[in-house]
Amino acid sequence: MAGRSGREISAVPETSIKSKLLSWEGALILILVAVNILGVAISPNYNVNNVLREMPRYLAEIFMMFGMGYILVLGDIDISVGALVCLAGTVTVLSSNAGAPFGLAVVICLAAGLLGGMLNGFIATKFTELPTMIVTLGTQIIFRGIAEVLFETWGNGGGTASMTDTKGLMLLAKKIGPFPISFFCVIIAGAIMITVLAKTTFGRKLYAIGSNKTAAYYAGIKVQRIRFICYSLLGFLSGLCALFLLTATFGSNTTTGQGFEMEVIAMCVFGGIATTGGKGNLIGAFIAAFIIVCLRIALGQRNINTQVILVIIGLMLIVSVLVPALSGALTAKKKKAQT
């Protein structure tokens, strides 16, 4: 499908079974299987029940990953989401402690996330000259700053607050069979987000914007409106992440969510989404997320220095972006021969 310019339209799926198996997603599934085999091999406690029990803490991040995938496909980046999780979690805990019923606290949590995302989107679309990295760097510091101020002025100070009324959270942390509720929520959210990105016109528009903003604009796509929607969506999902994180931690402090933004971006990139935009899909990112989660749980159970996981994630990330670059020359040659 290479046009005259030699540019490839990346949203066009390859159809043959062979290419599907050889794709990055196929490799990711193999890695996921390998990680699970490794888990069983190194830890006697690594079984379905235990893994699912430890999962909620990590599952929360996956919500954000979907939104981040959209943003990265657009060719943008958002490094404020970790701080936004902190802010949303903080207002939830503080409002609940101030006497708000659980339902209201949930609404506040999601609204805080949505508003934060809308602020990002507003600045990013009104001042398009600014790289989104700078915009979200600013809002990142602001969101965490607001949370810090709230702890001191509204909470008990000390930069930490735990929820006193945990009845509602317990309800959310319940399990259906061995599966925690958040697991189903992640699957449902994933199904929706993956389908929207891969199968709808909205998803195609994202790829169009990510590949070439100007061309997308002249093709009649409302570029700025779509960017705004994606930022708001990511903000909303950050709120959701904060909510499900609370079901595991029952409290919030000034370091909640620190580094989440990078972990989420790492999941996406490991899953094959390019930060330059217009490439990759969420299925890969979804599998990559579970690889990282399973690896964490396995290493955690084995009592291996938990920070080793950082080294492994870093190595995986670099290898995953280097492999396409190294084989890039080869495939480029092939493509040239085809056209």
Binding site: I134, V135, T139, M262, A266, V311
Partner: protein, 326 residues
Amino acid sequence: MKKKSVGQFLSESREASLVIVLIILLIVVGIINPSFLSFTNIRQIFLNNTLTFLMALGMLCVMLTAGIDISITSTLAFAGMSIGLLQKYNILHNTFLLFVIGAVIGIVCGFLNGIIIAKGHVAPIICTMGFMYIWRGMAYVISNNNWASGMDVAGFSDFGKDGAPGPYIILIIAYIIFFVVMKWTRFGRRIYAVGSNTEAAQVSGINVDRTLTGVYTIMGFLAGLAGVLSVSIYASAQPNMQYGKEMDVIAACVIGGVSMSGGRGSVAGTFLGALIIGIISKALPMVNIPNFWQNLIKGVIILAVVILNVVTQRTMERQNLLRREM
């Protein structure tokens, strides 16, 4: 050529407008609390922000090539932890050698970044994010979650303790070298060339890959140096030291007028940007604003500065258009 009006001069020269912001800031804080302008206090601003000042220079070079390096504080932690442990286990206590070792570790880390970004054509943020995890993890692994306490680094910490000249000398030398290199040497101009237009630089015979590798190696060197300094100044080494502070360094550059899309920025601007960040964090408690407002105010200032920049540029362009029409 027509003489420029004051407003035009200010909107075109980022350094001039930063100096004015700085003077206003100093006057306001100085009126509310005169002790802010004392020599000791200003000295401490520099001491507390030595690491930001130092690493901002490297970040300037990296951002001039339209890149970014978020692995710096991890490199810092790895280098700092290494030399902390060397003292903890009584292997080495020579201050000079410790500096050399820290710097070499930094250079290796930076070189790896550079070679992967230049030869592998990996997006800088992704590559450095990978190393951000790797070096931070390595810092934990080599230390096995232990600290090197003030006792362990007792003799070494004299170098950077409050009042010792060491950190200031390093800062002054670094800024002089970078000012000269970025303005008057071939390497410095190459960095600007690569950042403004990579293809043009390539065509005109500049070895882009080598320049990129060099830039990230310099960044690594400074981060390693900052790691050693950090151990000396704070008299301890922990694997999580300076976690998340890379954003401060980037923010200092951004406030100082360094463009993230490359090719624009100066050593003077970087210095002023870092100084403004340092002054804000030091001044807030002195003008009776509690410290927990610090991040909020810092974030608002960063956003305000970059948005203001966009707005002035837009009005300038509009005025230029008007002039052409007449």
